[in-house]
Structures are given as C-alpha cells and as structure tokens.
Symmetry: C2
Subunit: 368 residues, 2 copies
Amino acid sequence: MPTHFTLTYKDTLTKARLGLLQTPHGVLETPCFMAVGTQGTVKAMLPRDLREIGCQIILGNTYHLYLRPGHELIRELGGLHKFMGWDGPILTDSGGYQVFSLAHMRKITEEGARFQSHIDGSTHLLTPEKAVEIQEALGSDIAMVLDECIPADAKRDYVRSSTERTIRWAERCLQARRRPQQLMFGIVQGGLFEDLRRSCVDALAALPFEGFAVGGLGVGEGEALLQSIGAFTVALLPEDKPRYLMGVGRPQDILAAVQAGFDMFDCVIPTRNARNGTLFTLHGRVNIKRAEFANDGRPLDQDCGCYSCRHFSRAYLRHLFMAGEILSAQLNTLHNLYFYQDFMKRCRQAISTGQSISWTEQAGLAVS
Amino acid sequence: MPTHFTLTYKDTLTKARLGLLQTPHGVLETPCFMAVGTQGTVKAMLPRDLREIGCQIILGNTYHLYLRPGHELIRELGGLHKFMGWDGPILTDSGGYQVFSLAHMRKITEEGARFQSHIDGSTHLLTPEKAVEIQEALGSDIAMVLDECIPADAKRDYVRSSTERTIRWAERCLQARRRPQQLMFGIVQGGLFEDLRRSCVDALAALPFEGFAVGGLGVGEGEALLQSIGAFTVALLPEDKPRYLMGVGRPQDILAAVQAGFDMFDCVIPTRNARNGTLFTLHGRVNIKRAEFANDGRPLDQDCGCYSCRHFSRAYLRHLFMAGEILSAQLNTLHNLYFYQDFMKRCRQAISTGQSISWTEQAGLAVS
C-alpha cells in the first residue's frame, strides 16, 4: 500500500502534529478544516471563491447526492469534481450519519440501513457495499466506511453490538473497493465507553485503511466528554495515518482536538451560522443582526483579510441580513469560511514554531 | 452647463446611436443596460462579479433605500457607492414608481405622494424636494425627478392633469438641487396620448436637465403601443442628451427601442428571471427546471463566456435549482447579467459597423 500521509512535524509539548495528505486531486496540509458541500455545493460559494479563501478540501454528502441528483447521474457526467466545478480534493461521508439524523423510518439490520427519503418518502437500503459503490461513482478522493452513529445516551449493550457491527461493515467496505486510488477511512465508534473505543480501534487498525475517523462525538455528550473520549481514542490510533474527528467544528473544540492529535475536521457551523448572521472573529463571535451595528461603518474585523471585511461595513452586512438579501449569505459565508481557513493556518504555524500551547490559550480565550 | 453626453456615431438607416456619458464615477458607453440593485445590492452578485461581467452602471431604488436602511444613514457612512462597495456609476430612481406599485394607501396631491411603507406601515410624504434630498444623500451619479407613473388604462383627463403636475414637480426638483456634479434626468409622461407626450417633451426639453427618460411604458399597454409611443416620444427629445426608457427590458423590446433612438435601459427581468430558473441565450430562453436537462452535460450556452457556462453543465444548474441551493441564484444571475451586457455590447458593435438592422433582425428572432 503506498504511503499517502507524511508526518512533517510533531509537537513536543502537546500531541499536535503537522502532516501532508496526498490525494488524487492534490496534497493537503493538516491539521485542516473541510467546508461542507452537502448537495454538490458549499452553500452560497462559487468554487473560485472557495479557492481564493484557501479551502484545501471539501466534504460531499453521500446521502444527499445519492437521493438527488443520484450517483449514477453524477458518474455519467464525469464525477462529482466535474459536476460541481471543484478540482481540489473531496471527501465523501458514507451517508450513515444522515440516515440517522434526516431520514424517516430507518431500520438497522446486519445487512445495512433501510430508510425512507426525507425528500419524497421513497424507500432505500444503504449497505456497506452500496455506500462504497455510491462513493466510487461520485469519484471522491477519500471515501468513508458505512457506520452507525450511536446517540450519546445509548446503553452499553446497544453500543457494544452496534460497534461490533460497524467493524463488520468496515470489513465489508474494504472488500467492496474497486477504485484503489480512492483513499478509504475507517470510523471508530464505541460511544462513551473507553474499552469499547479501544476494542474498535484494535479491530480497525489491523485493516488496510489509509486513515481513521472518530465518529459519534459532538452529538450531545457535552464538551468534557467530547474532549476526554476524543483524546483517549485518538491516542490509540496509528501515528502514521491521518486522524479525522467527524462533524466537530466549534473553533475551541478544534483547538483541543488538534492538541490531542487530530488532523482533519468538518462541520456545518461556519456556513450555517453565516446564513443565520453569526460571524466568527478572533475577537469573539458577532451577531450581525444586533441594532448596535446599524450605523457602524467599521469592517466586521479590521484584522481580517477576506473580501467581505476588505470592502463592507458592519452596517452594510446588517442591512443585507435585515433586508433578507442573498448577498448576506454570500458575504457572511465568505467571511466565516475564510476565518476557518485562516484559523487552521495559524494553528499550523503555531505548531511549526513550537507555540501550540500559547496559541491555543490565546485563541481559545478569543473564540469561546 | 458642461456637456456630459457625447454622441459618437449615428446610424444612417435607423435612429440608433452610440454615445459616451460622463458621470462622476466614470464614463459609460451607450446604448447600455443598467442592472437593478434595489436594496443596495444587485441580488446574488458580489460587486467584483458585476465588474467582471462588464456591468457599467447599476440602478438603486430610492424608495427602498429611504425606508431601509435610510438615506441619512447611507450619507453618514459615505454614500451609496461606499456603502455597497460599488465604485462605478449609479443611477437612482426617484421612488415614484415604487410608491405607485409597492406602497399602501398612497395619495397624490400637488405637494407630493403620501404613502404607507410596505415594510412597517409607517406614513411618509415623498415630495419632489424630498426625492432630490434623498438622492443627494445617496450620492448617486444620476438622479431622476419625481414623477407619477400613470396606469396604462388611465383616462385622458387624468393623464393630462397628472402629466402637468409631473412637469411642475420636475421644475421643483431642479430648484431643489444642491449637488451640481450629480446629473439629473427629467421624465416624460403623457400616457398613450401622443399630444400629451409632445407637450410634456416641449415643457421638459426647455429645462436644464442632463438627460431625459420616458416613463409610463411597459406597464401593461402591450408591445405595439410600447413601441409606437416609445418611438414617437424619443424622436421628439433633444438629440444631444441621453434618452432613457425606464423599466423596459425584454431583449426584443430593447432592440426596438435602440433602433428608435433610446440610449439607456433598466429592468429586473435578467435578475428576477434568473432566480426563477429562466435563462437567456442567443438561441432562445431556457427554463432550466425542465426534466430534459436532468442529465444534460452540456453548458447552458456553449457560445457564452460567462463563469457559469464555462464551468457548469445544464444538469448541474438544474440540480441546484431543484435542490433550492443559493448557488442556483448566483450562477443564474451571473449568466443572465453577462448575457445582457454581452447583448448590449453586440448591439453597439452592430451599430458601429452599420449592421444595426441585420443584427436586430437576427437577434430579435433568437430572443423572441
């Protein structure tokens, strides 16, 4: 198996690390944040604007693309990269999370997950093999195995049997692979039970995955458990493979996870919050709706280099939001995604100069 | 009075002409189309994208900006150009048309138009002096006088008395001017009565306006009357001033109006239709929602140089529309506004090479 991941730096005081991950559509520097492009678009962003803000890799949702417009159609049209006009790396999830959070009437069996579409009520069966087939049709650079995302309050017996099934599903995903150039990541489940997390890691680490994700966190267990289970699990994972903390994305959570040794992140927070008028800065979060900004001629963040902050005032951003203008979503999303990319860049710089701890303290205070 | 408008070419077979209009924020080539930026934004367009597609001048709506966020606020923040990040020319209308089409409980007197805001029901009085004051606060390059837009089915007696009042309002607007660098255009009313149109032109042409608009057309009178009254009226206007046909904007209507001697146009058609999934091409209009495009990998228009047509397929544009994605409005608006700018550019080229008639025939067939 070729080596896709190169560790370029290991912090001595924390478990933070720097790496390079080689994909068919280019190399990405880790730790990195993946913007979420659910339906074949990062909402409100032109692909060229994603490039401009330094976006290295985006995430596509298998569940959504399978239901609409369909993975066969996307394959016929040349794959997801061509379809959405994005020639950088793409990671696709397996659809499992959305089956559990969006679909109706879901039923899990050993075979897979049966569910009804949230769009038209049609019935579907998502098996490990089907999840691989869909992601191969989409042609993403990194595919994820099908797993069951377990609720934070699940009982131990259920977590154990579900996690064992997730391991069997992971093996079936590997066996279903037909596109060796596409990287495949296993997903560690195990809920909030350290021994179950450990046995899941043991089983998956023996399999030829190009990377590993930790799933089932950031689903309501609270910040303390997120951090402790996350740090416990990531420390068990092979050092020479990328480690991805799925769906966790508040800046302060990313900081803690980077220090624990995670390399990759994704979350809808920057894009969804943008559309709701909540903007991130290193001076704290800003609710642009607030009346105090009505006549504020200053940029949102005078230290920010994004297009929105270089050209527009808080008063204008508030006006657009209050008037319900599409441009509000565009400028706010541009800013929040720029913030996240810049945040990860600063994070990498701090690690490379041995200042991970001081940067994390300083940034953590600012964004909390 | 300085000369702002230079006629650079007059067609010999039609009344089409080419000109250059000097404004405080730059020169524009006529005939030209103005994209509508109602609430301080051309919907779904970053200002830099407007520049890229060759947008020369945009239109701002006095009625909307007066009500929200308020002209005083925009003045305090440095004017509309700075507020919305657009450093090219801006024309503002007077608010009259929106008072008649959007506001509630409107009442016209000699003093002005009293109305209730469509946003919060608050009561306002828009006088000619107020319309000038608002537009001076906005700092637009071209201001329009306050006029009453008369319905197409109005009786002759009403049209006469309204048009006479519009002339008196035009005089009051000139007297209220405090910003001589801002161009001001008079507006010819007179409904569908040629003699009333003529007497209105006679009265306005004697006044020191930098240009003239023809209003009250494209409001339901039908294509034949639009063309005949438009052509009749524009022929009466001074040759050495720009002539603006307000609110008329189907490509075929623009073609006819250019041949009749009009220089400037505005309309919400390209932007509104874009959001509804109707796209313009020189091969005809396209309803991108249609099922036939679901698996169509070709660009919307292979001859179009816009960002959307260079990067995306019809299948993708349809997918975005069906999925309700914001990017649908962005890519469709980019295309339609590019089409309109390109259409006007081809129109100017045809005039400059003496091919206005053949181009109009050919393009007219394509877009009708």
